[in-house]
Amino acid sequence: MSEKVSVSPSNQIPQFEKVRPTSLTADAFHRLRKNKAAMLGAVIIVMNILVATFAPWIAPKKYDTVSFKDINGTPTWVTRIFSNMKPIEHGGYVKIREGYLLGADNLGRDLLSRIIYGARISLTVGLITPFINLTLGLLIGLIAGYRGGWLDNVTMRFVDIMYAFPTYLLIILLMAVFRLGASKLEPGSLGYFFSQLDASMGGLLFIFIGIGLTSWMNEARLARGQVLSVRENDYITAAIAIGAPTSRIIFRHILPNIIGPLIIAETLAIPSYIAYEAFLSFIGLGVNPPTPSWGGMIADGVVRIQAYPNHAIFPALALFILMFAFNFLGDGLRDAFDPTLRGRD
């Protein structure tokens, strides 16, 4: 290390090699770029986004075109992978249809096209839900943490109670309220507006709200904890002393200082939101059919897993790859922005 420092005999100040100054964020992104797993995840996510965006151009067929003569049709290469799928020509039961790259489902719809369109649902949920959760959790956590006192007490006890609520049962109940409730509303009411909006989004809106309402508690708890520690800083006292309004203190002084860990926590939670949507579509409370969702496709396919394993395995693999990508990227982001956390849970 001493090579870079040149000390001249006449007691001059040592000359250091000049280094370009970098901001903390740039530093973090540099670390992120060097993380191969995270970069792989990012590439997969970008590819998924491209596929989802340009689905109508990429998909070989329409996702809802039913073709009765191609029901359960399978290309040859798929029958080679799944050894129990013997073609009719070889004494089996499988209709060979080379036109379907991954096969056709039980209504003769192209599996590949449905998987391509299904990426839209999983990605939208994975990218939008964090914002909803962040907003909801931050708002509640900020107010509870900053105000303190009884408000904090009541909010946090409510959070504790919600932790004891079986999450899956709650989300099933909520979705039932949204889905079944929406059918009986009069035009003109707020609920009707929402149900129309939901229908125009293929059922996604209620999925966002459902997941948001069941998972804001983690965010709120985290935000509150952060506020409690930041609140004691001198610069907050100073802001109060010069008469800054509370909203300014919360949003200009506290928020920027606590948002980092929250964003990282949300990134790490993305796979679980994707899994939630898959679960909801799996039990039939997710997106409206015939919009394809990977969870719904798995549910449809699992019934026939002995005869046509490709119907369930391919969407499961698609879901697996996307969740892995988000996991890798999330871990990478956390390690990049907070290197002290590396290797911890």
Binding site: N84, A164, Y168, V177, L180, P271, V302, I305
Partner: protein, 337 residues
Amino acid sequence: MGKFILRRFLWMVLVLFVVSLITFILMRIIPGGPFTGEKRLPAATLAQLNAKYRLDRPLHIQYLSFVEGVIIPRVTTGKQSNYLDHEYLINVRLPFGDRTTFRWMNFGPSYNSIGRTVNDIFREHLPISMQLGFSAFTLSILIGVPLGIISALKRNTLIDYLAMAVAVLGISVPVIIMAPILQYIFGVQLKIVPVSGWGNLNQMILPVVALGASNSALIARLTRASLLQVLGQDYIRTARAKGLIERLVIFRHAMKNALIPIVTVLGPTLAYLLCGTFVVETVFGIPGMGKFFVTSVTGRDYQVIMGTVLLLAMFLVLANTIVDILYTFIDPRIRTD
């Protein structure tokens, strides 16, 4: 300690009250009732049915009578006893009198399956879900803890990397992916175990593994991290310095403290496993409670919904309370007050 348990008990009551209230409100927001299904009933029949099940009473009365049925225990005698066995979840025959029985927790009748009570349904389906959940729970501890210990002790060796790679894989794969893939590989392709069903031991293997895998991975990672942290502490060095054999250092000194974070996640883990059985039950065709819950929500079978949510919430709160009490035994530094 007594005061602590009392406080936890009161907290449990509050939690169950709020949970049941939220469930009740959510259910009643859904328009329609249990008898307004596809078959249109004549108005008079509908009114009679509603009157029979007291669905024509004001909502708060309905809620209060439900709560009363659940929490007030009764002691009954005489002939009617046999019928009441269906209505109550807990029936304890007392050793005196004419069929004197202590009864508790009446969740009421089911509206969709006429003639059956909610407790009939629980008796048939709940034990299956519980078996599944608890087996997966046991599996995740039995695999997770030893795996974590091994990789902590063999840190930065091939075994460690391999174990942790498998763990990361396990954590990232939800049941909805794990179940069909396991089913295909071991049931359809290799034909080692049956594809679906429930009852035999070999039918249990796949569902339990599918459900418990991701949690065992989580526990393995947690055990590794926690044990590594403890192993770096001074008292471990002291134990080694005084010549204690490694086995005792690990199991008597290190594990005690390393266990604390693991115990913390056991409560939520159990909760997750007991509630998360739905996908596994559907994939493997297991007649458990999960499937029943969804059909009862869409069928507005209010009593079944309330009963299931309450019973599960009760398990969760109890599990968390037990964990809290276990804490004080594992770690005397934690005060109960």
